[in-house]
Symmetry: C2
Subunit: 639 residues, 2 copies
């Protein structure tokens, strides 16, 4: 195995980071005060916690459900991250109580799944393709690791190690073991976290087994379907591409199938490439990165063009109104890119993280923190929705509630994505006011940021060292930024970024200050011409934030709005609108739609336009006011 | 009841019309020689004829199916029309044989439906919502009328009168009668044909009953569902709008639901307005005409934007790739507009007929006459199809085979749509070389057309009278025509059309000649700006023919092609291409899609273009060569 892959940098954990800005800090507070309690109430109501008591009997209402442990687990994970930055006895006690139920629900052999313990006790591991057992186990492992890191308590970690040990005994290449893997990847990345936390190499090997076994022939899902007396061809999704098990992982060249499954698998594959130094696995990740980010991703970082499989279709097939772009999928892409970043500190990956974070992820939660989007289309119009589906609005809960706790754990753990460290470098990936305590050059270095990002492009970085030391401060120059200047202690420093980062190598002393000034104009963004859905259209972006038009500002029928290429657009900070933020304004055009012309469906007269003063708001903030149409890709007039 | 509706004109029947042109005459010959025999072979193979023997028993393969009589009936109707213009003993004998089977299949009480006689004999009339019994009866009635008109034989007509008499005894407002109606309208228009053929007013009254009863509360479909022990709310289509029975017909203001059902209902409603002089019913028809033709119709005359219900969605919701635009629906619209035309001789209706005929109907059959389209989308791209559905190609047959015999009957009966007559007027609706023998001004007037329509705009009309007579020759000035001149015996005649027709009133003598010269340039057509799918796009039309780009001529990825508004386009007659016809050519642009730029999915660089020589072909002729993408609405560059 090649060893040319080395961990170039390590993420700086949550516990060493503070966030004290006006964008994320209030969101983290809402997450703690509103979102986490709101999700808890729902988990209680729907029986997520009750089912752990294993008291359900046939004939009783509301049986345990196969997904529920995963949803509860993501909430435990979110709470744990929140406890890192904001310890609280009450929440910690609540976790103890729930962990107590999980421990009691664990079977003598280590198995832990309410559904297959009380509803279908004889069917354990009989339908890996559909039944999500290992998926639930994976999320519980992630929760256990987060809980341990937050509290130092081994209660859940021990439970999950026992479960992982049991899983390790059931699955593997050994005699009598099942050579299967989960239809929904997740356990793979979780086992690597467990390995990194416990140091137990069996967990790494089991993760490797799951990843390497996936998609091999004879196909495990065929075999287990036949063992259940089913015809494998009756699989509803028709192709194992749905679960990225159509081919061995190393042979996969295109992102296919259910987008969340894909992302979690690619996370684990990247982790394994890093942990094992496996070059060909890394090449697989890089190929899949190109497939997703160069050909199959919405401008919001959303992924998944198809509702039926909640996933990928074909290159450049990115319809706007029917986009699925599940919140969890954007989160998965964010998590995956963060892993790629620790193999190669390349701003391409950070750019995608930021694209997801400020757009396709953040759109998944209301400004009030208690309403969620599962799907994140890039256009909504009553014209289509009247018939095609119920109008899309943020909902308080979903029958499949993967997204709400997922976004809660991302927001709670945001600090973990801002900084990275290596022996020689202090790295700033994301600009968020606050600080990180890094281990660089054999000492503790505190990096402080002062910035109004994403609304403003000035970031003032102050470095606190214990003693003068020679190291590199790597600052990211985002892909959206076309002009940046830098000073160090007031002296100009050339901005010559290497793969998206400018490295300031010098002797750093306590109080040294670097100021990065990024020009942050309104940008007109064009899609690759192969994206048929966006031909003749433009999107507006400022910094990392993608904008949209909403009916509440512009009237409905937003397809009538046309943006001349030469129109002057203005950015304006509106502190009282949508939680405060920059909106985009300007005089553009709107197709005339008079009553007389309404009579004519087709004519030889081109549309005529009249002046129209428009306002665009950040995409993430849509559907937080009156209901109406929404549009990201605006018709552009070249003239 | 008001009597202000009068039949302004009467269609000239098939038997008095000849078609001798280079466009339709060869298609009619292919219809006779290829299509009708090909459909017959399929009907034999699939058991459409066999099932009439009523020999199927439980446990045997291939049971009778609820639709099949309708498909056979449309084929009988097509053969009958064909026999009018091309009598043939063999085909007539074949019809006799099949009619013999139908007569034997008829039950003693007059009932005639193989499925409910041998498969579910106890379930007759128990599910009008879904079971298509009256729909099948209606098509058999249409076939009987056509057969009688073609051959003078009463064999099928007598069978169907007996069936109609039985239906009349079962349904109606009387005591013990069912107050139901068919989920799929068709019987209503058929009964009016039967009334007009037999003079029996009970058939008119029964048609009226079915139309008037439709959609009343308490809802019949609710009642019969409960009687079957079902919950009416379980109806798969969720709303009775699917079958236009959500409201009483007179209260309907928007075209909704399954498009073919809508058209057949509107046909009957228009017939009833005409037969009964009912103004409010006519107003309903006019409202529905506006709903369909001003807001819910594709530029091809196709209707039905939604696959799931094969029908209408909302105003201006006309997506191109996912258009359903069933061939039968365009045929239904054509048939309905022909009925509207005989209430008011208004070229708006004829324009729609022609739009359907040359585009959305004709696309439904291959140039070879033996392959069919059920759906007629306005764009096809591999990008979407790879995932979204199997690539769309003409097929030899469909499991639900409504379209093939439907288009066969339209082509066979085309002569019936060309002329109309009244005491005072000889009317030419469609320009087709050949002749019509009309009854005008108390004598027989032969109107002869010489034209190369639709490729050329010159139509030479020669009138043959028995004696000099004062009447109006009404010639249609199509909606697509923006400049026309007219001469009568070489003298200019002012073209001042009234509602789409210029009326030449004078004393006509044998041999008088009118020459209509319509400018027939290539037109750029724009959709109403509310049609979001077509913003920034243009379609090409020449005369009544809508054009499309095909991959075989232009390469795939047709969304890359851009048509500058100022580009010079040229029409060229290509006699050896696609059965002979005018194609459109010109130097336009194509977005650059180089390998380097392939890397970038989103950028601030607008697309660049390079010169591209394109060729557009008539939409009706697409998918007759190598497979590939297709596009009607082309991206337009205004600059």
């Amino acid at each position: 195995m090649s060893s040319s892959i080395i961990r170039q940098l390590s993420p700086v954990p949550l516990s060493r980071v503070t966030i004290q800005d006006s964008f994320w800090a209030p969101r983290q507070e809402i997450n703690r005060r509103i979102t986490i309690p709101a999700i808890y109430r729902r988990l209680k109501e729907t029986g997520h916690i009750e089912q752990l008591k294993l008291e359900w009997k046939p004939g009783m209402p509301n049986p345990p459900h196969i997904f529920r442990e995963s949803e509860l687990a993501k909430w435990i994970e979110a709470v744990s991250y929140s406890l890192v930055t904001h310890p609280g006895e009450k929440l910690e006690a609540l976790l103890d109580e729930i962990i107590g139920l999980l421990a009691k629900a664990q079977q003598p052999d280590g198995y832990l799944n309410a559904y297959f313990t009380v509803v279908e006790p004889g069917k354990r591991w009989m339908n890996l393709r559909d039944a999500h057992e290992l998926y639930c186990a994976g999320h519980l492992v992630e929760a256990a690791v987060a809980h341990y890191n937050a509290t130092g308590k081994r209660s859940l970690l021990d439970v999950m190690c026992r479960y992982a040990d049991y899983i390790d005994s059931v699955f593997g290449p050994g005699p009598g073991q099942k050579r299967g893997y989960c239809g929904h990847p997740e356990i793979e990345l979780a086992l690597i976290k467990l390995y990194c936390t416990t140091g137990e190499p069996r967990y790494l090997r089991l993760s490797q087994f799951f990843v390497e076994e996936r998609g091999k022939q004879p196909h495990y899902f065929d075999q287990e379907a036949r063992a259940r007396g089913e015809n494998p061809a009756d699989f509803w999704a028709k192709s194992y591409a749905y679960s990225q098990s159509h081919l061995p992982v190393r042979a996969q060249t295109e992102a296919v199938g259910h987008a969340v499954r894909a992302m979690y698998l690619y996370c684990a594959t990247t982790d394994l490439a890093l942990e094992t130094g496996d070059e060909t696995l890394l090449q697989t990740c890089e190929r899949l990165y190109e497939s997703v980010c160069h050909r199959r991703m919405y401008v919001t970082g959303g992924i998944g063009s198809d509702h039926n499989i909640e996933g990928f279709t074909s290159d450049y097939d990115l319809p706007n109104e029917s986009a699925y772009a599940e919140t969890c999928a954007a989160i998965g892409l964010f998590l995956w890119m963060h892993r790629m970043l620790h193999i190669a500190c390349d701003g391409r990956y950070t750019d995608v993280m930021e694209r997801c974070l400020f757009n396709g992820i953040l759109s998944g939660i209301s400004l009030t923190g208690d309403r969620f989007f599962y799907e994140n289309p890039l256009a909504v119009s009553r014209q289509r929705e009247i018939f095609w589906r119920d109008p899309l609005h943020r909902q308080e809960w979903y029958a499949v509630a993967c997204c709400p706790p997922n976004i809660a754990r991302v927001i709670a753990s945001l600090g973990a994505y801002i900084y990275a460290e290596s022996d020689t470098d202090a790295i700033v990936h994301l600009y968020v006011q606050g600080s990180g305590t890094l281990h660089v050059a054999g000492q503790k270095v505190i990096v402080r940021q002062a910035t109004q990002y994403p609304w403003d492009g000035v970031v003032k970085i102050t470095v606190e060292t214990e003693r003068s030391a020679n190291f590199g401060l790597k600052l990211r120059i985002p892909g959206w930024c076309r002009h940046a200047t830098l000073t160090v202690n007031g002296q100009a420093w050339a901005v010559a970024p290497d793969r998206g980062y400018v490295r300031i190598q010098r002797f750093w002393n306590a109080g040294d200050e670097a100021v990065l000034t990024m020009a942050i104009p309104i940008e007109r963004v064009y899609a690759h011409p192969q994206v048929a859905a966006n031909r003749g259209c433009v999107a507006l972006q400022r910094g990392p934030v993608i904008y949209c038009l909403e009916g509440v500002d512009n009237g409905d029928n937003l397809h009538l709005v046309a943006l001349p290429r030469t129109a002057t657009l203005e950015a304006q900070f509106e502190k009282d609108l949508l939680g405060g933020g920059v909106t985009i304004h300007g005089e553009v055009l709107r197709a005339v739609d008079s009553q007389t012309e309404m009579q004519i469906l087709y004519s030889t007269v081109p549309p005529t336009y009249q002046p129209f003063y428009f306002k665009a708001v950040p995409y993430y903030a849509w559907d937080n006011r009156d209901t109406g149409d929404m549009l990201v890709w605006i018709h552009e007039l070249e003239a």
